[in-house]
């Protein structure tokens, strides 16, 4: 007897449905990434001027 998963084939792509997480506040996280980048650039600019 063959187990069911023995027939798992690549092109059938029979993985479980993966939740997309649409309910999460992604906009907040993306804004956080941009703000962190801007802050880092500002701090680095301060370093550049201070240790010139």
């Amino acid at each position: 007897m063959t187990e069911p998963e023995e027939h798992e084939e690549l092109d059938d792509r029979v993985h479980d449905d993966i939740p997309e997480g649409k309910d999460r506040p992604w906009g907040v996280l993306y804004t956080l990434v941009v703000v962190a980048l801007v802050l880092q650039i500002l701090v680095f600019t301060w370093f550049t001027l201070h240790f010139k």
Binding site: E8, L10, E20, W26, Y30, V33, A36, F44, F47, F51
Partner: protein, 559 residues
Amino acid sequence: MSVFDFITLFLTLGMIIFWGVYKTRSQKGLDGFLKGKEMSWATIGLSVMATQASAITFLSTPGQGYASGMEFVQNYFGLPLAMIAVCTVFIPLYHRHKVFSAYQLLEDRFDKRSRYLGSFLFLLQRGLAAGITLYAPSIILTQVMGWNFNVVLLGAGIAVIFYTISGGTQAVYVTHRHQMTVIFAGMIFVFGLVVFKLNQFSSFSESLHIAGALGKMTIVDYSLDPGKKYTIWTGLIGGFFLALSYFGTDQSQVQRYLGGRSTAQSKIGMIFNALLKVPMQFMILLLGVLVFVFYLWNSPPATFFPVNLEDGDPRVMEVQQAHSEQKVAAQNFVEALRAEDATARAESREQLKQAHEDYLEKQQSFVIDVKAKYGFEKAKESDYVFLNFIRTQLPIGMVGLLIAVIISAAMSSTASELNALSTISTVDFYQNLFVKHADKKHYIMASRLFTAGWGGVAIIFAFFIKSQNNLIESVNIIGSLFYGSVLGLFLTAFFFHWIRGTAVFLGTIAAQTVVLISYSLGNGSIGYLWYNFIGCGLVLIFSSLFQLFLKKDSPAKRL
């Protein structure tokens, strides 16, 4: 290296490999083997970082800080923005289409030809790169430590093949997590040690002032001069395109986030990388700058290249004399800083700069002769600085750990490459062209054989590279020549819905041909990073033009 160091080295590497194999020993599912599954955001984030951080990152980047200062960090400014694009466009599409290979998406949007083209370009550039990823650190490591190159290359290569075959993608994830832990721990320790050792001569702030006086602390450059290699603009624009191609379309990275428990976990993993990458590169470069200040206070070797210099060589003594004068100038500068005397500070700063220029002139002229005499013509001396520091300054036991960090980094990026090459060979070619309908055991076995095959190719290729060339630059050049076209192919799929399969297929081939011809005829007149942008733009232009003249061969599809 002491016996205790060897014990630390083998224990660290052995434990990571054993744990990777042990945790994935019952790996029987196709999903887990080819894609990994149920991964949390932390594992994904660490795995993405481990793939990108090759051994040469830990050898070259501190060396880059030592030689040129902090400006290189600007190259990473575009990365967080590219991560947002990957999260909003690429990840949802890959998950929705439930792909194993990034290039399956191209078949869904266009046709099989486009999928084969994307996969073929990937195999070509990653296949070439895999050997170099293993070779480059092995050659530096063995030269400095005096080990046998063949033993190190075979040992590291076979270990990677072993655990990647054993547990597939799942094992790559598990080992990446521990490899990154060791890498972080090792780097933090060295950072603390340098700061501690520097404290005998100058405080942390004084050390940064010394580095700043000698031009090493220019972190952000707002210059609009297009001839400058690193500015905030090249970092934001060039870095964005490079990171988007790499993280969005390179299977060795895509495979890292396909195994997420959910789309949300994959996205958070990438955001983790977006937040951590710039600070991490900043710290590694700063470590190099601090090592530079350390060697202002302590005598460095006349050259960092691993060569036996003759005793009493007058040129060595000349370099040492210039170094002593530089040290005195640095002491005067620190005293002026402590006295808070602006005039003395300005004067001693100029003296320090002059003394450093004199030292550099003598040292560099000596290095040119060393390179010619010992066959290091195309090697970069800065690549050898950090390893020399580790070998001579770290306490017993920690040298072994830091060597483990470098070998771990080599293994982690090679594992991702072999894993991706094997998945693409199995899913895109073997399953499509040769054995279409077989059970999962058959495909897992095929994937294992492809991993072993690609690993063998990488090791054999590394054995035959007999060169001191700057190999990591070769990897970046190869990548930049192909990444642009592949990114163009994907962007056409996502955003240019009126373009069909035949047009994009011909457009990509035309763009790739133009890029390769332009590179070979250009003789370096265009910086290689620009080919990412040029290749991408050409695919969009050529595909649009072809579509205008071709009849619509298939209905327009949206992803």
